[in-house]
Amino acid sequence: MLKIAKYIILDIVRSKVLLAYTLLLLAISLTIFMSDADVTKGLVSITTVILIIVPLVSIVYATTYYFNAAEFTEMLVSQPISRRAILLGKFIGISSSILLAFIIGVCIPVALFAFSLTGITLMVSGCLLTLSFISLAFLTSTITRDKAKGIGLALMLWFYFSIIFDGLVLLFLTLFADYPLEKVMIVLTALNPIDLARILILLQLDISALMGYTGALYQQFFGSGIGIVFSLLMQLVWTLVPLLFALKIFKKKDL
């Protein structure tokens, strides 16, 4: 398993795409921090960028890589290695290399320029976001056999989670504005890994505004550590569950 991961990491690190991604993130973070003396404002801008770019690159790159390495997978399957080890090895390989890019591109600049609780939250939630979208990429790649279809599905998933979902939530909120929607809202956010990452950062940046809400459940959710624990746990769920499904499908899949 780890051996497979090692081969994949070595392969990815040599590719130019990942290097480009790292440089892009690095350029964004450095420009934002250099151009503005206000660190908090910089963190806000980086958050906005991260919430869009990180999921997109993670899911598309992981899917593409998975399909490009289909022959390698077939070769591995013919060897006496369990399918579980193959898929997990791939996951570890791909995710650790993309995480590495994120760490170099975002975590290091943030740690240098804005090392605070907000900064740490940004790093952690960005990492978890990367993991959950790679996990989703594995799900899409195991579901379909066609590369174009797989990438299409990955893009659609990204589009859905980053834009359509929130639009639907906003629509839902306006339609049912007269009802108490506190619990529903918390459940709804749990259904989107991007929202979970966003709320983690929100709990640091906008806590003053969030504390303005009257509902007891919101008070509890925002005010105590429950909100943070909940978001972190749900993000882990978003990493594990798609991966488990992918594993289940891959085990029975006719390659």
Binding site: S162, S208, M211, T214, Y218, Q219
Partner: protein
């Protein structure tokens, strides 16, 4: 002859310190209580109270005395009465620990009560666990300086730390008030100067006043009070260089202004409050040179306000800059720095070339549908805010800063 009359006259006018006695109060001596000392003292005498614990059940000070505590003597009412009542002018009370006044719902028991007096100084005392701390009623020219007032933090049985009722020309300087109902409470207190006080963690308001015209508040800090600061029905106040910090929660405000007119709010810092300033029915208010940093809502200006000017303020890191509940009229924003401003400055004069609209569409949405707070900073919200800024249709057209600054004001 005439000069002799003047000399004799002077003899009567001058409060001759040479004649004044000093009475020493110490435990275990002939004069073991302040009450006894006050009885034997004459106007102008000094009472020195030595270190020790004295039971003081509403000791009445009805003569012009200077009462000095040496080694912080403790006056304890053991929850049976008030501790001290001053009913004479020209009293100075300094250096005591005053504690455990009675609590009650019929009377306002206080640690130090001043009633109908002038020219009294209360300084360097520590008040612990009293129902009301320092209670001034119908007083003039009083100095309350460097006192440390701590309440019981009991929600049902807590009075105000420093309470003024129907007073004039009072100086409050350097006091620290905590764990009371309202830290500093004024009703009908006119022409007072309140400076360098620190009011934190009070159960209700850090500062609360009504009908208290012409007061000046300078260099005070109000931090983490149960409901922030609330000021109402008052004219011509000046709030200068105060700090309002970490007043968190729903309907908790850095400053709540209700029916305040002709006020000056200058050089204050509003940091990490849920709402920095909340204004209702407040007219002709000038808000200048203030810093609004990391608040939930920097300002909430209701439609009932008129002719208010907001100039040369810094708005940084606030979740929302300005919100309102209707159509604002005659509210003017000018020369402010807004960190959310995305305009440009082609002629490089430091002022943005397109106006900034501080009320965002999303703020309006939250106004109607508070639950959508969960979508804050999401892509869709950024998108609709950007679209609205480019082509304003829903946010009020009148509320805009025509000359937004490109760089923050340096203070």
């Amino acid at each position: 002859m005439r000069s002799l009359i003047v000399k004799i006259g002077l003899l009567f006018i001058m409060p001759l310190p040479a004649w004044a006695n000093t009475i020493i109060v110490a435990p275990g001596t002939n004069v073991a209580t302040i009450k006894l000392a006050v009885t034997i003292a004459r106007n102008g005498d000094t009472i020195r109270v030595k270190k020790g614990t004295y039971i003081s059940l509403n000791t009445l000070i009805d003569k012009e005395l200077t009462i000095l505590g040496e080694g912080r003597p403790v006056l304890d009412a053991r929850f049976q009465e008030e501790v001290l009542t001053i009913t004479s002018g020209h009293v100075k009370l300094d250096g005591f620990v005053i504690k455990n006044s009675k609590t009650g719902s019929m009377r306002d028991f206080a640690g130090i009560r001043l009633s109908n007096v002038e020219f009294v100084t209360i300084s360097n005392n520590t008040l612990i666990n009293n129902f009301f701390g320092i209670y001034l009623s119908n007083c003039k020219h009083i100095r309350v300086v460097n006192n440390h007032v701590t309440g019981s933090n009991n929600i049902e049985n807590s009075g105000n730390g420093i309470h003024l009722w129907k007073c004039k020309e009072i100086l409050l300087n350097g006091n620290y008030v905590t764990r009371h109902r309202d830290g500093i409470y004024f009703e009908f207190a006119k022409k007072c100067l309140i400076e360098n006080n620190f009011s934190e963690k009070n159960i209700r308001y850090g500062l609360h006043f009504m009908f208290s015209d012409d007061d000046t508040y300078r260099h005070n800090t109000f931090k983490n009070n149960g409901s922030g600061v609330s000021v109402m029905y008052t004219r011509r106040i000046a709030m200068l260089d105060n700090t309002f910090i970490e007043n968190w929660g729903s309907s908790i405000y850095g400053v709540l202004l209700k029916e305040i007119t002709d006020a000056r709010i200058e050089g204050n810092h509003f940091i990490r409050n849920t709402t920095g300033i909340y204004m209702e029915n407040s007219d002709r208010i000038t808000v200048t040179h203030n810093d609004f940093i990391s608040n939930g809502w920097a300002m909430r200006v209701l439609a009932s306000c008129n002719k208010d000017h907001f100039t040369q303020n810094n708005y940084k890191g606030n979740s929302f800059d300005v919100t309102t509940n209707g159509t604002l009229k005659e509210i003017y924003f000018n020369d402010n720095y807004w960190d959310k401003y995305e305009g440009y400055d082609l002629n490089r004069d430091g002022t943005g070339d397109i106006p900034y609209r501080p009320i965002s569409l999303y703020a309006q949405i939250i106004e109607q549908n508070p639950q959508s707070v969960m979508l804050m900073r999401s892509f869709i919200v950024n998108l609709i805010d950007k679209v609205e800024r480019a082509i304003p249709s829903i946010t009020p057209e009148s509320v805009k800063d025509n000359k937004p600054k490109m760089k923050p004001w340096k203070r």
